[in-house]
Symmetry: C2
Subunit: 95 residues, 2 copies
DNA sequence: TACACCTGTAAGTTATTATTTACACATGAA
DNA sequence: TTCATGTGTAAATAATAACTTACAGGTGTA
């Protein structure tokens, strides 16, 4: 999840979806100003991290549109929270 | 800050310092189980992000020890917070 | 002097991410 | 049919990040 958010493009994508609501890939690519394949890749990472979800829909004129929207994730990032979360990391010595 | 935390080693480092208190480089490297140069690199990134601070001290027997400790950072990671924070990102079109 | 600690960093290599380009396919309208 | 819209993804390249190895230098003690 942290890796997914550690990228300026992906922060802008989340921000755009949080502010402007759900949107489909091509339109979002135009609004953010990056290429569609690149946006597609970033959306894949965000979706894999559970930060956005997608839903395929048909527009009135029959085009297939893949809509994305943000989930209502929340994460508190503090030293104590990280100390707690780090326990679930694979132990270095196990590898 | 997110980039700094998007790495398992650095999460372990923050966790170790949060749990065990301040520590110096060589000792911390032994406890975490990574090489000292590698730890040094990660500590640099954490310090650059303001997540840890260092202080050079002299041990009783005269050795120079560089102690690190976590700061009391805190960050709420939600869609709304990201939408707010994204405003301060350099605009794509400015580049 | 030689050893055992401590510090830092530069250089080279490897691995991972990010990005572009090009392709393949579908639908509705001119 | 051709064009404009939408979808996805594979492949090659570029850019970063991570990691190892090898230095160089400091102090105190045997």
């Amino acid at each position: 999840m942290l890796s997914a958010l550690a990228n300026p493009h992906r922060l802008r994508i989340v921000a755009a979806l949080a502010t402007g609501g759900r949107n489909y890939v091509s339109q979002l690519a135009r609004e953010i100003g990056i290429s569609r394949p690149l946006l597609h890749l970033h959306l894949q990472k965000l979706e894999a991290a559970g930060l956005v979800v997608s839903q395929l829909e048909l527009s009135p004129d029959g085009k297939a549109l893949n809509f994305f929207e943000v989930t209502d994730f929340g994460l508190e990032l503090t030293p104590a929270a990280i100390a707690q979360a780090a326990k679930s990391l694979t132990d270095q010595s196990e590898q």
